[in-house]
């Protein structure tokens, strides 16, 4: 896929996908921190968290070509792990009844950054374990299996009263996430995604995405590479869950279920699911669209006409928006190829068209 010229030239142009993604995140983050009013600051922060989640999903789905509907399970893992670790001890005794081996959690109390590390680690471990089963599948079967994973995690989280508080809202997690630290996490997630896709494993996986059989014949152990990507992406999505726990004033299992899955999958698809800047673009486009729609739902005055759409209109429009993108730009707004300088783009574009 990569032109020989760009392989030799390791300058700015080679790393353009990374540079563009980082610039967009930095620009929005810094502008938001400097100028945005308080409400908008929260929107920017949740946008950064969405970048972490979407980039996390992209590490697996974008590189492997298998759309996962199960990644919000890892978001849940991250969120719950950090709550077990960071909720103040006096509240913990009130909320939880841990089973024997987890007794130590009652007294343990760590700062949020340690919760982040633990959340990422546990989510990656869960990804490794579940992935070693799921990654033996391909295509649509794998997508359905990841959906089953989401369902299983949701059933467990909704019913394991003593440990997850079941359907009740989890409160008491220290609220420390704002634009600054969430932006740092978003940048880290993008860096990890970029390093992975440029790594040997990432390149092999992308080869298998284009043609699984051809890659296998050339010696790529497809399921192994998928497992590597699945584990890394589980860890990154877990980080998104940790951030979410320290950002939202409370959460319950339904925050990590189909609705969130739809939103994050939409972000990945709308921008262009096979490229990193595409995913980042998708996050921003969807966030802006959703925000505008919410404003319209609240009521706005445009050219002297007061528009007040009924509540729920936003979700309908969001679904239609995704459908429109799928119909008219199936490869997303950015398209299938990684961003290049325009002059170098022609060959790549033609190659894609003929595919």
């Amino acid at each position: 896929m990569k032109g020989r010229k760009s392989l030799r030239f390791h300058g700015l142009s080679y790393h353009l996908p990374l540079v563009v993604s980082l610039l967009v995140v930095l620009l929005v983050g810094l502008l938001g921190a400097a100028f945005a009013p308080l409400v908008l600051q929260r929107t920017v922060t949740s946008m950064m968290i969405a970048v972490v989640l979407a980039v996390g999903l992209y590490i697996f789905s974008g590189n492997s070509g298998i759309l996962s509907f199960g990644h919000m399970s890892f978001m849940a893992v991250g969120a719950y792990v950090t709550s077990w670790l960071t909720i103040p001890a006096n509240l913990k005794a009130l909320f939880f009844s841990f089973p024997g081996p987890l007794d130590f959690l009652y007294t343990l109390n760590v700062p949020p950054w340690a919760g982040l590390l633990a959340g990422v680690f546990i989510a990656a471990v869960v990804g490794l374990v579940t992935g070693s089963i799921l990654m033996r599948l391909s295509d649509i079967e794998a997508s359905i299996a990841t959906l089953s994973l989401l369902l299983i995690v949701n059933v467990v989280a909704s019913n394991w009263q003593g440990v997850t508080q079941g359907q009740r809202t989890m409160v008491g997690v220290p609220q420390v996430v704002e634009i600054g630290n969430s932006m740092v996490c978003a940048i880290l997630a993008i860096l990890i995604a970029y390093l992975y896709q440029r790594s040997r494993s990432g390149q092999r996986l992308r080869a298998s995405r284009e043609d699984e059989n051809a890659a296998a014949v050339l010696g790529v152990r497809v399921s192994l590479e998928r497992l590597v990507a699945f584990t890394i992406s589980a860890g990154v999505v877990g980080a998104g869950g940790v951030l979410y726990a320290h950002f939202s004033s409370g959460f319950s299992p339904n925050h990590f279920f189909l609705q969130r899955t739809f939103l994050i999958v939409a972000m990945v698809i709308v921008g262009g699911r096979h490229s990193l800047p595409g995913v980042v673009t998708g996050v921003f486009v969807i966030t802006i669209v959703a925000e505008v729609l919410r404003k319209v739902e609240e009521g706005v005055v445009l050219f002297g006409v007061s528009i007040n759409a009924p509540t729920g209109m936003g979700d309908v429009a969001l679904g239609l928006f995704l459908l429109a993108v799928l119909v008219w730009r199936p490869e997303g707004i950015i398209g299938p190829a990684e961003i290049r300088w325009p002059s170098r783009n022609k060959g790549a574009a033609r190659e894609v068209e003929t595919n």
Partner: protein
């Protein structure tokens, strides 16, 4: 005797699962589309039933016909507006687009109807239970079993005995070849959607008769069960979908009986784990063929 009771329970449950799975499998066999929005057809039909029965106070027979028409219409509209333009997308993108259709329709329904519970009174001849010795069966379960078997037989006859049915089977086997031989793609796919809409509406009737309640999210549990059932049977295989539904009925009944009280809330987690196990042992499902796998 208790065992017979379990078998009857499992059959009644499994036949409704099979009905749900058939609707998914039929569309998949032709289009490689796993239709997430199938649940929304169920919900829309259920609301139509509520409207016809509780608002217009129609006779149950007319209301049934109305409900089924709505189910078919919704499925056909979905096909025409959303899935026809996407016909050449890959299975993954089709799945994502059906996800989008599902969210859109669901929120549209919330917007226009609301998300509160509605109740529909069942006609008196399906309330109550039949006792026979120590066996007890709710009349609704018997109805579900009979209706499901009727529709499955009807579908089988339709596919084997009619021209359109034969064309659908041929297209499921090899779409390009079928088109070369003169099968109209739009026709067979629309027919598949119409039948899946019909099955969804029948399932909605059964569900409302069983639960007496209608809710905007009532389509999700049967949809998820249907996914599991189609995967167990082999995605796209119609006998497989029926078998998968019946097996799941058995599994759910067995888990309900066998699980200790403490684990009972986690029953569905066990049910969904079965999909993963089946996929690992036989990725093509029990009745699936390996022909979809390209040869190296």
């Amino acid at each position: 005797m208790r065992f017979v009771q379990y078998v009857l329970d499992a059959l009644s449950l499994g036949s409704t699962f099979a009905l749900a799975a058939l609707g998914i499998a039929l569309v998949f066999s032709l289009m490689r589309l796993i239709n997430f929005a199938h649940g929304e057809i169920i919900v829309a039909s259920a609301y139509a039933l509520w409207y016809l029965r509780s608002e217009w106070e129609l006779h149950w027979f007319l209301a049934t016909i109305g409900t089924v028409s709505v189910g078919i219409a919704v499925a056909l509209i979905m096909e025409r507006l959303a899935f026809r333009p996407l016909r050449h997308a890959g299975p993954t993108m089709l799945l994502a687009s059906s996800f989008a259709v599902s969210v859109t329709v669901q929120n549209f329904l919330i917007l226009s109807i609301g998300d509160d519970f509605r109740s529909v009174a069942s006609p008196s001849f399906i309330t109550g239970t039949v006792t026979w010795g120590s066996l007890r069966l709710p009349k609704v379960s018997i109805l579900a079993l009979v209706v499901s078997v009727l529709f499955m037989t009807g579908l089988a006859l339709f596919l084997r005995r009619t021209r359109l049915g034969q064309q659908m089977l041929a297209s499921a086997e090899d779409f390009d070849m079928a088109r070369l031989l003169g099968v109209r793609a739009n026709g067979v796919i629309a027919a598949a959607f119409a039948i899946s809409g019909l099955l969804a509406a029948v399932l909605a009737l059964i569900l409302v008769a069983q639960q007496g309640l209608i809710h905007i999210r009532m389509g999700l549990p049967p949809l998820l069960i249907a996914f599991v059932a189609t995967v167990i049977g082999g995605i796209g295989s119609l006998p497989g979908a029926v078998a998968g539904g019946l097996i799941l009925g058995g599994v759910v009944t067995a888990l309900q009986v066998a699980l200790p009280i403490g684990l009972l809330p986690f029953r569905d987690a066990f049910t969904y784990s079965i999909v993963i196990v089946i996929l690992l042992v036989k990725p093509e499902g029990l009745f699936g063929s390996r022909t979809r796998e390209s040869r190296v």
